[in-house]
Amino acid sequence: MKRDGIGTARRGSLRGTRARWIAVLAFAGATGLMGCGGESPSASTAPPSQADSSGASTATPPATAASATEAFLTSGARRGVSADGTYRVAWEPVGGIFSDSEPFAIAIEVERVDGRELGSDLALAADAEMPHHGHGMNLVPAVKPSPGRGRFIAEGMLLHMPGRWIVAIDVEEGGIAERAHWIIDVE
């Protein structure tokens, strides 16, 4: 079992570290199709401890995390706010269920809490790890943009053993990656 949960991104790799698992999005052009729309962001600048987006039992979206992109995600999506309160992030497995032994994809939506447009240099990364076991996934998810503003698909998620996982989504703009995370119990 790999100790490093992000697969090939080993210490000392001479290749680009994040380039292998971050999709850098060129929003120019594509974003013109989408408006910010939807609910105006609420004052969801949660303190760090509350920015922990879920907790093991948190499947209920926070009241402030509703999104304009309901069509992309269902009401069962996990929702939360990134650690510094900059982004509202939601995700769910494509097809609605986890596979505990097969790779699966997740659909992700991101928007800024302050209502501003996402930056053209926005990059997204998805990861999962098991702190109790000191490892992560055996695959490196590939994050790709999906039609629609702030929408992405991360393929290659694999929670390969039972136990408590942290699923993390990093939203990067301007060289600052802010993390939202959820605790997931896999039985």
Binding site: R3, S13, L14, T17, P48, A83, A177, R179
Partner: protein, 680 residues
Amino acid sequence: MFLTLAISTAAVTHAVTYGASATFDPPCPQAAEYIATAEELRGVVAVAAAPGGGGFLLCTPEAMDPSARVVAANLVLAAIDVESGEDRTASVVQRVSEVAQRGDLGAPCAIDVRADGAIAVADASGLIRLFESAGSRSIGEGILGEPSGVAFHAKGIAVSDRRAAEVVLLDDSGKVVTRLGQGQIGDPRGVAVLDDGSVLVADRLRDCVWRFAAAADGMPSASGEAIGEFGSSPGQFNAPGDVAILGKGAECCILVADELNHRVQILDANGRFVGFFGMHALVPRMGAGHIHYPRSIAISSDGSTLVVAEAFEDRAQFFRLTAEPQPPGIPPSVELISSHFGPEIACAGDLLAVVDIESEAVGILDARTTPPIHMTLMGGGGASPQRFREVSALAIEPDRRRVWIADRGRGAIDVYDLVWDPTKEPVVDLFMPRLARSMRLDAFAERLRASAATKQSSSAPLRTPDPADIAFAGPDSSRVLILDRANMAVLSTDLRLGAGEVVPLPKEARVPEEFAVGADGRWAIADPVAQAVFLRAADGTWSTLRALGEFALIRPSGVEFLVDGSLVVSDAARDAVLVGGPSGGARIVGGKGVLDEQFWDPQAITPSPRGHLVIDRGNHRFQRFGDGFTWNLTGSMGRYFDRKRRGSPGGPPPLAPANPVGSSNTSEAGRVPAANGGAS
């Protein structure tokens, strides 16, 4: 079945025997046999084969007289008798004879010897010192930032420059011939030159050896090819620090000091693994072939003998290169944090953070208790935001309990939330740390460049910052102060590394390492190469402190303010801590040793609820000093002493036979098994 081959060097042909399993081509030794140890070489940083086959030159950062006053940087000649008898240790002509009082060597960190006997010494303060038959001179001033390796080349001298992250080839007059590895190299260290002009350099940060192949005219290519990668398996490296060449041409062998794997690896001319030697020492002070943090290596001119400088252990070990592979030993293995403390430590309020340099993990402890209770761990080697490649700075936001970790390998600062209820009993909780954000330092540099508020006086372009330390200041600790080695400045910015101010360090600064901010707004920066602590008053004026009371600062490695505003400075050369007083005097605490209130390479200092903590790096532990800077705890991860052990200064007397460590602060400590709490 064995066959006999010969390795020819310039001077001597040395017969070696290879086992039947040795199918390597070209032939290289597969391991080495321990011969002897030269001890009491404080901080020995560099070795080279002496001219004319007369043993080895070893370089120490400073020589001190018996009263611990620095005399000068030191260059010594080690002469050994490799014809060992039954008793290896007894057969050694052990002691090094001091030969070269060649003047002040500055802050030496690497040496090389040319065939004609000329000696080049890389001075970390920014130049190369040359000692030739015609006299001595310096080159490279104003060109080199922080030299870290040196090797003679047919075109001049190849020099590693850590600050510029490149190798510079200077001609004999000191002019730049070419620059190698720009944009490739992370942290260049030891350099070696092949006879065709190709240049090899160990890259401690990228965990590889770069080869800059030479063209037909002997000029090395500006772009290199990496040999090796991170890991502990054969052919992989963990922080390689030096490289040496055995033999010539296509049949040469490459030897690499693989520092954090605690071994020397042998590669063939194509970079393929051949063998290794140097089983990891299990505790500090273990030797006799057990290698602990090899810093520099050199091969004798006859190709038979290799010397390994271990600055961590203040010693050099000698080996005879052999054909037989080393029998399987204990492989390098790091399981969670195990007290391989790096120089960094941080504490704020009730939390303490320490870094383990071998696992690249940061441990979090509850600092309110005796002993501090280890609660969680974050990191481990890796390249994603929650993994570290080389932790260079630690800090804790006082108000929000967020942990800041600068990773110079990834070029980023990670900020962690700690999900912790301090009103509850501390428990181990690996879910406690949650990465909040990761901030790329190159993007920060862009914001600084674009900032109208940038006040950097130097015209030099702003490099990507290389944090050596982090502190917080201002109301609600809302300002971040980053001690930046790349730009020799303190970067004052906000909590998201937005635009900020670049405050240049004094021109005398060389390699700033530790940073403290006083309650009155003063800054203190320890610089072991400049042999000074730089003080900045609240009004922005700088002053230079070269002594604390009557004690000169020799290798200041840590600094902190006491409650009364006095300074406390750890001095790695003295193996002690200098404690200032409000009246301007100072006293010395500690001395070389392994017991309580003794140190071996003390580093960073941080205040904590129960006293100041000092990283005692060479003993793999920290020590804590309470009111009046009196000792109250020695601890590593999982083992603590809050009463002094026998033989410690001020402790109960040693049982007979007397423990030499307890009665001496200098001479015999290296021969005594470690009595500290931590395993190596």
